[in-house]
Symmetry: C2
Subunit: 218 residues, 2 copies
């Protein structure tokens, strides 16, 4: 949950807490365990929230209609303008009882393989925390690549393609009477590749060397 | 991965395989382990695929631009029309090397909390398999609730609202000279609730009893 930016954990009647094994498995997120609130009942845990979403893998009698995980995350994030929202998980063995589920205004399911649907609680928590993170913040563009160079300009790419075409003609690979679509294809390929300046220089250097023309100088 | 409908696992140079601990942790998905293919190198694993996506949490020098997990899943599913696609994970400790990453046409990241970004490999696999499942198939509507009754008809709801209004007037709760927006509010509330037939009957029975009018008969 910390990896997905969540910080508030409420434990209802934990068998054992604090617990050395839990601390060891928290892998550095011990601040969340240290700040965890321990309560004795679900109503106490949900007190003050404006929306509680129960996670359940099983169909329930008399439940409100289920939401898929993604929709549930969107609704939870939308409701945060009104106050705290809660995501409620049962324990690994028994899940949530019908009575516990009935205390939550919504319940959500993760769409799984109907023939093999047993997601453990840690995996379900991870998927839901991930959905909440994506619902809460548009992650924007993926990070820039640190080693990435400047993009080649249009002119640099055009000069390269012309160079390539001349080299192909010069070595006899390309028949000037029937060039087919060589240049078009090359242009398409290198356009998809989004060439960098340095890459154009390397390619032109290679071409010049293959042509026996010595060094290419940009 | 089986929970998300995936079945094909390729292991590159596993330290120990088959392994009793792996079988125990597979929690019933032992068919996937039994069918797992063991190869000695990444090129062998990727041979025949049309797209390989490497998962990595770290920024890399000279990598192709990163995709977020959701976009990567969409691209992978789209490419399945052309052939097999591969999702590539490193081991828990070291992840993928730059050389391994360079063999993959794309790389993907899971958007995480930049201040605490260490997702373990099992959690990353779970998130990606979930994204692949959602990208591969629209899950459709969540399952029907088995205990859900027939929806009340418009007329049944109108009769109930009228009953409620008369009861409120009858007991003096509502002043006929100044009904305010009682009926409008009740209509709005019960409209949001999407009443079932049986619920309308229960509510009208309760009203009749509160009014001292004996049993309500639908």
């Amino acid at each position: 949950m910390k990896v997905m930016g969540l910080s508030r954990l409420v434990l209802v009647n934990p068998q054992k807490f604090p617990d050395a094994q839990a601390a060891a498995m928290a892998a550095g997120a011990t601040d969340i365990l240290a700040a965890a609130q321990v309560v004795s009942s679900l109503p106490e845990a949900l007190s003050g929230t404006v929306l509680a979403v129960a996670m359940s893998a099983r169909r329930r009698e008399l439940a409100t209609p289920a939401l898929w995980a993604r929709e549930a995350a969107a609704e939870m994030v939308a409701q945060t303008v009104h106050g705290d929202v809660a995501l409620v998980f049962g324990n690994e063995t028994a899940g949530l009882s019908n009575e516990e589920l009935a205390q939550c205004r919504r319940w959500a399911m993760i769409p799984v393989n109907p023939d093999f649907s047993s997601l453990n609680v840690a995996a379900a928590v991870q998927v839901m925390c991930y959905e909440l993170r994506l619902a809460a913040l548009n992650p924007g563009l993926p990070p820039e690549i640190s080693g990435a160079g400047l993009p080649a300009t249009h002119d640099e790419i055009e000069h390269f393609v012309t160079h390539l075409e001349q080299a192909a003609l010069g070595c006899g690979f390309l028949d000037p009477a029937s060039p087919k679509r060589f240049t078009l294809r090359m242009r398409r390929l290198f356009s998809r590749a989004v060439l960098e300046k340095e890459e154009v220089n390397i390619l032109r250097g290679l071409l010049a060397a293959l042509e026996g023309k010595g060094k290419f100088r940009p």
